[in-house]
Amino acid sequence: MTFRRFLIKRIVIAFLLTLVSVSIIFVTLRALPGTPFSSLVASGGLSGEQVAELEAQYGLNEPIYVQYVKYIQSLLTLNFGYSIAESRPVSAIIYPRLLNTLVLLVPALITTAIVSSIAGLYAGWNRGSAFEQGSIVVTTFFRSTPVFVTGIFLLVIFAYQLGIFPAFGMRSPLDNPQGAIETYFAVDFAKHYFLPFVATVLYYSGDFLLLARNSVIERKGSAFLTLHRAKGLTEREQLARAGRNSMLPLVTYFALRMGMLFQGVITLEVVFAWPGIGRTLVQAINQQDYPTVQAAVFIMALAVIVMNLLADVMYAKIDPTVEEGDL
């Protein structure tokens, strides 16, 4: 199978998966008891007629299949509609929050993927060394501690005791930056950024370290490494070959994690009061704000699917044997 055919096939599958996932979101939300306005009725703020009028305004009185078709149509044009709870375009709510999340998590994930993978390769190569054992204990500790606990400890030590870093938010309350550059490339932002960044890096480091270590251990002692050694390759060159052969699980895991980043890490956002997508989603679900929830979940599902696709493509590029087998 040629690479192009492989790619087309994967994209078609990804598209179908997306369709399935948005349909599930649609059905699930409609299956929840109540409507966005039921709380208003309960509190006596609105009469039955007013609610019916509002529902008509949002198209909620139409038959469910019509709503579904309209929903799919809008999604295909990336039109997410208006938020019921906040009365402004959903995109205006979601995009900035999503950006905040990604600005925090993507660099953190990339950093930890590179640093802990290399550390893992090294640890696996020097099996039984103090470095290997120490690194496993440390990273497993941070992996198994909930991220908000690590976050709280970081806050207690660096923000409240030492007072080096600010305790919450993305910027000082008094700052009022305009535009992305001013927002994200400021000393004040960097100070707020540091603690949640560290917490994330520590949280993810264990996975990459253990994966890299285990796959190097698996490769170590394999016949092809012996042959590389017999050819006169230095220790470092041999490790590089072992690392190259250990890429597959790392790339898969990285892509999956990357896809999941779009969901944000709610506990982290809460502890550091970071205005990210995770908190927005929880809020929207509580308010039964259909359009916002649908849009947010759609983006999350899409991200996972796209990243999976990317992982498959990278697979085919990294491992010459993959293209042959049908995926």
Partner: protein, 704 residues
């Protein structure tokens, strides 16, 4: 001065509990341009010696004493950096398992270039040119250098590693079991290539193998290793022809000639010596039938006997020992009444049996309704097995012989055709309560290390089938003990409560056999039951099977690629090629007078243990075609020197040639193997150079 001088080398491996003394004082010398063989069974230290010459010992391996001098330079004093310069530049290495010794994510050309760039200052273009050159030398298509290892078959990968070893014109090539795991025809071609190349570039070779046949055909001098000691040393002709050491004699017994029918296989009883401490007696004394008190004192030094050296106290009685060593009774084996087995009623009969494996298909192809591709693993096989008969199924890897075994044992469903057990179709037997059928047909798997549950004691493993069949508790114990004793695991009490990991490979396979026999099956299917075992143990497994067949009136299907053991044990033989039986008949008739060109090639390719015999190599061109797209006509036609238009157009019936139960699927059966096949193969390779390799080659990289 010799090229390589190894002197009194001692190597231990440290484990968490004890030190294992793997090599206990080995000395030998390799001259310029000569081939040196190290032969011995697994655990004799031969690979350890080879690795130490390249400084490739594992981290826990320590050279305790001795010296390794290469070109007068002491290698053991080298720093890691000096080692890196010597490796490949001076001493190259051909690894044991070509299947996984190439880096899977690097093109083969790049792997070879890497070795060049490491040692020479060459441009990429120069390196490329050289890679193509060595590809050409080993008979690979030079345009395939940028392909990845998985695109080559096992034999071709071994050629890649040989090409890699040649690339820098090293003075010494260490070949560690270069042909183990390859099919006999491929092995023959590889050995031929190695010798041819060596003659050309005039390097020395250190060949490590357990196969005396390969040694006999390639090496000038040889050392026989056992328990980390040299047992016998000398020129190959002398050592193999007139062994002077009891161990060499025993090892030679384990390599019977193909044409030795019905001779009882002679094994060496017992197991390897305990190497956790330095040997205090002759390392072979616990298994040696000639051992005396003298042998317990210490390991004998090498002494001159005839034209070679032997580490034995009884060198003065060589003639006598040699005579006695060929007698099975010397090795504590009861002579078994050979031959005279009368085959009884038909137990199993297959008719047009096929097993096709569906190949994955893309969605588009499915929607378009295109026909699916099938791997035709078994393609129309008729086979009959009678009571008290051992039927051999021979063939190279990927020919479908294992699948055939699993299908007739109903471990896999079949696609088409019929299997009748005692006249009843298998479907019928399986449709209701399949217990009865299952108890009558038993299977022994290839790998005794995998086929036993590591958490089950021997007692549990052997009694499990009885429990499934609902046998009572007391009877179970009795039958388990009886069967264990029958397969030679005695005293039973010593084994019955052991876990598999406490047993040796040979003992485990006996447990597996006991587990199969405990139900008193009528049909036993053995899939390469001895191929994972050491040569000296192989014979004992064969003997047990033979005995059982005679005693219990069983029918046995013995699947193997090893023609020597097949000819020793089987009554009838079916030779498979690409899912079809191409020749069938009495074993003796097939071995002495093969009719199908493929059978004849297969038989002619087995290496001969006698170094004096000058055998023409079987240079069968190409590789078996892809079992998905089989050629029109006879499957063997593309490689057959006798093929005509007729062969390429229509497929010969199995009984195209018949002579009293000896059938061959060939229009032009062979009469004179030498003139009709071997000479022509040689002619074809000389004339066509590498073109033979351009035949379909996917096959082999994915052999089941």
């Amino acid at each position: 001065m010799s090229l390589l001088e190894v002197e009194d080398l001692k190597i231990t491996y440290s484990t968490s509990e004890v030190d294992v003394h793997a090599v206990n004082g080995v000395s030998f010398e390799i001259d310029d341009g000569s081939n040196y063989g190290l032969v011995g069974e697994s655990g004799c230290g031969k690979s350890t010696v080879a690795h130490s010459v390249l400084g490739l010992l594992d981290d826990n391996g320590n050279v305790e004493a001795g010296s390794i001098k290469f070109d007068g330079r002491e290698l053991l004093d080298c720093s890691e950096q000096e080692w890196q310069e010597i490796r490949w530049e001076e001493i190259a290495y051909i690894p044991q398992s070509a299947m996984d010794s190439l880096d899977p994510v690097m093109s083969v050309g790049a792997q070879i270039r890497q070795a060049m760039h490491k040692h020479r200052d060459v441009t990429k273009a120069e390196a490329n040119e050289r890679v193509e050159e060595v590809f050409d030398i080993v008979g690979l298509d030079p345009s395939r250098t940028e392909e990845y290892p998985h695109q080559f078959s096992g034999g071709m990968r071994q050629r890649v590693t040989i090409a890699m070893a040649l690339v820098l014109d090293p003075d010494l090539i260490i070949a560690d079991e270069p042909t183990t795991g390859l099919d006999v025809i491929v092995q023959d071609k590889i050995v031929h290539k190695l010798l041819e190349i060596q003659e050309e570039i005039d390097s020395s070779m250190l060949l490590i193998t357990h196969d005396m046949g390969v040694i006999a055909e390639t090496c000038d001098d040889v050392s026989v290793l056992y328990g980390g000691k040299v047992m016998e040393q000398g020129s190959t002709d002398d050592v193999l022809k007139n062994p002077t050491n009891p161990y060499t004699m025993g090892l030679k017994n384990s390599f019977p000639d193909i044409e030795e029918f019905d001779s009882q296989a002679v094994s060496i009883p017992g197991s390897l010596p305990d190497l956790t401490r330095e040997p205090t007696s002759c390392v072979f004394s616990n298994r040696c039938p000639f051992a005396t008190e003298e042998c317990e004192r210490e390991h004998p030094a090498l002494r001159e006997v005839e034209n070679q050296q032997s580490a034995c106290y009884h060198v003065d009685r060589v003639e006598e020992l040699r005579e006695e060593a060929v007698d099975p009774e010397t090795w504590g084996l009861d002579p078994v009444d050979q031959g005279g087995r009368e085959a009884g009623d038909v137990i199993l009969e297959t008719e047009g049996l096929t097993k096709w494996f569906e190949q994955g298909q893309s969605i588009v192809d499915q929607l378009m309704g295109r026909e699916k591709d099938y791997v035709k693993a078994v393609n129309g096989v008729d086979l009959t097995v009678r009571e008290n008969e051992i039927v051999g199924v021979a063939g190279e890897s990927g020919c479908g012989k294992s699948t055939l075994g699993e299908v007739i044992a109903a471990l896999q469903t079949h696609t088409d055709g019929e299997i009748r057990f005692r006249g009843t179709p298998v479907e019928e037997l399986l449709s209701g309560d399949s217990k009865e059928f299952r108890s009558k047909v038993q299977f022994i798997f290839q790998d005794p290390f995998d086929s036993l549950n590591p958490r089950q004691k021997v007692r549990a493993a052997v009694s499990e089938p009885l429990k499934i069949q609902g046998v009572e508790g007391d009877e179970i114990t009795e039958r388990v003990r009886q069967t264990l004793a029958d397969v030679g695991l005695s005293p039973v009490d010593k084994y019955i409560d052991s876990f598999p990991h406490q047993l040796s490979g040979g003992e485990r396979q006996r447990v597996a056999i006991a587990r199969a026999l405990v139900l008193d099956p009528e049909l036993l299917i053995c899939d390469e039951p001895a191929s994972m075992l050491d040569v000296s143990l192989k014979a004992s497994i064969l003997n047990i099977l033979r005995e059982m067949a005679t005693e219990r009136d069983m029918g046995i299907v013995y699947i193997s690629h090893d023609l020597a053991s097949l000819s020793q044990i089987t009554d009838r033989l079916a030779v498979m090629y690409l899912g079809q039986v191409i020749e069938v008949g009495k074993t003796r008739e097939i071995v002495t007078g093969p009719r199908h060109p493929y059978t004849a090639s297969l038989l002619a390719a087995s290496p001969n243990v006698d170094p004096a015999v000058d055998r023409t190599r079987v240079l069968l061109p190409g590789e078996p075609p892809n079992p998905v797209n089989l050629p029109e006509g006879c499957n063997f036609a593309p490689r057959c020197p006798k093929a005509t238009e007729e062969c390429r157009e229509s497929e010969p019936e199995r009984a195209a040639w018949v002579d009293e139960g000896h059938e061959a699927a060939c229009y032009f059966p062979v009469d004179d193997v030498q003139a009709e096949l071997l000479d022509r193969y040689e002619g074809a390779t000389d004339a066509a150079g590498t073109t033979g390799e351009e035949l379909p080659q996917e096959q082999g990289s994915s052999a089941p």
